[in-house]
Symmetry: C2
Subunit: 222 residues, 2 copies
């Protein structure tokens, strides 16, 4: 019943640690699984154990946003799913564009996890004229020159960039001037964007390098 201690627009994303927000995503994923498997409530220690966090961490994270738990009981799964969706804003239903219809772009277009959680991919963009006019997984592929138009028409707020590194900065700028508010960048370059546009970067090579470091430098002890 809206037990949150603030209205949506009274919270400032800037005073919530980034780490808290990414754990929130994991809580949500796990809560849904629990809910699907018929579990009505979960305690902070159970939820923490499932994800490798402490119970105190789970409670502190959630306490940033309100009072969602029930002393002696724990958290009701359905209730907390709804609360976390509200915090993350996935209950708002975003329209999303994918730019670049190579292998990675196609993977994004076909990914099932998005639609079930408030993200509707409503357009794809590509320079390769042989792909323009086709549709991939039910999503129309437009030429890049139509980007601004389509972003307006379809009211697209978020975008994922899956183009070669050399094209990513230009694409990002086009997206921003068309009015896109948030970008997930899969191209291996650092984008520079105006303040006010949210950016998350995912670099596949970087992920493997993290593993390389861990494996190369782990001590034989333990």
């Amino acid at each position: 019943m809206g037990s949150s201690k603030r209205k949506r627009d009274q919270l400032d994303a800037r005073d919530v640690p980034k780490a808290v927000v990414s754990r929130l995503s994991l809580y949500l994923r796990e809560l849904r699984r629990l809910s699907r498997s018929g579990k009505a409530t979960v305690s902070s220690s159970q939820l923490g154990r499932l994800l490798g966090f402490t119970d105190a961490q789970v409670r502190k994270d959630l306490a940033h946003f309100g009072h969602f738990g029930h002393p002696g009981i724990g958290y009701r799964c359905d209730e907390l799913v709804a609360a976390v969706r509200g915090i993350l804003g996935t209950d708002l239903g975003w329209n999303v564009a994918v730019v670049g219809v190579g292998d990675l772009g196609r993977a994004l277009l076909g990914y099932q996890g998005f639609s079930s959680d408030g993200f509707r991919i409503v357009a794809a963009f590509e320079t390769d004229q042989t792909k323009v006019g086709t549709s991939v997984d039910g999503v129309a592929v437009y030429g890049l020159e139509r980007l601004a138009n389509v972003v307006h028409e379809r009211q697209i707020q978020l975008a994922m960039i899956a183009v070669p590194a050399s094209a990513a900065q230009v694409v990002a700028e086009q997206l921003v001037s068309a009015g896109v508010l948030g970008i997930v960048n899969f191209a291996p370059v650092t984008l520079s964007l105006p303040d006010g546009v949210s950016l998350v970067a995912v670099d596949l090579a970087t992920e493997l390098e993290q593993i390389s470091f861990a494996v190369a430098n782990r001590n034989s002890s333990r």
Copy 2:
């Protein structure tokens, strides 16, 4: 001249902050770009500015591993590229497997960024028998039942999991018992693995949720 203050196996990955290691990857990416564009040296403040970090952060990060800079000069790009590769262990040349040849698996198999940096994808695995025996981007696709054999034969140390969530835990366990030391997991589940196996998780829905949060909760002020 091996100016590093330690031999490779004397460093323990556990006493280097995770955040440092992921910035190292970004330094490497940027240093290569600078090197390619003909720049011989770079200062900590230049490198920091390009990536959005402070100069002190860049120096502190590198100081974890040795003395790579030249007072009055900065860092020589080529030299530092070699040093960072040594730290990350990408100079060791890893053999990598991809499990799951759906859209995402195919994207990983076709990704150019890996081969140029010490990661050789040498095998793919799939349950779908119509894909087994084919090859994708020059990489042979094997049935999952051959996983242990092929991992041994091809001396595979690292793997990327791109299978549905429901299959990921079982696949991970098979990889680990076959001797794989590090895993990048793209399936949207939390894997539980024995200590000693390195794990990085990438969840595409989670990345979009971070953006959703930032866009939904940013204050109108500023």
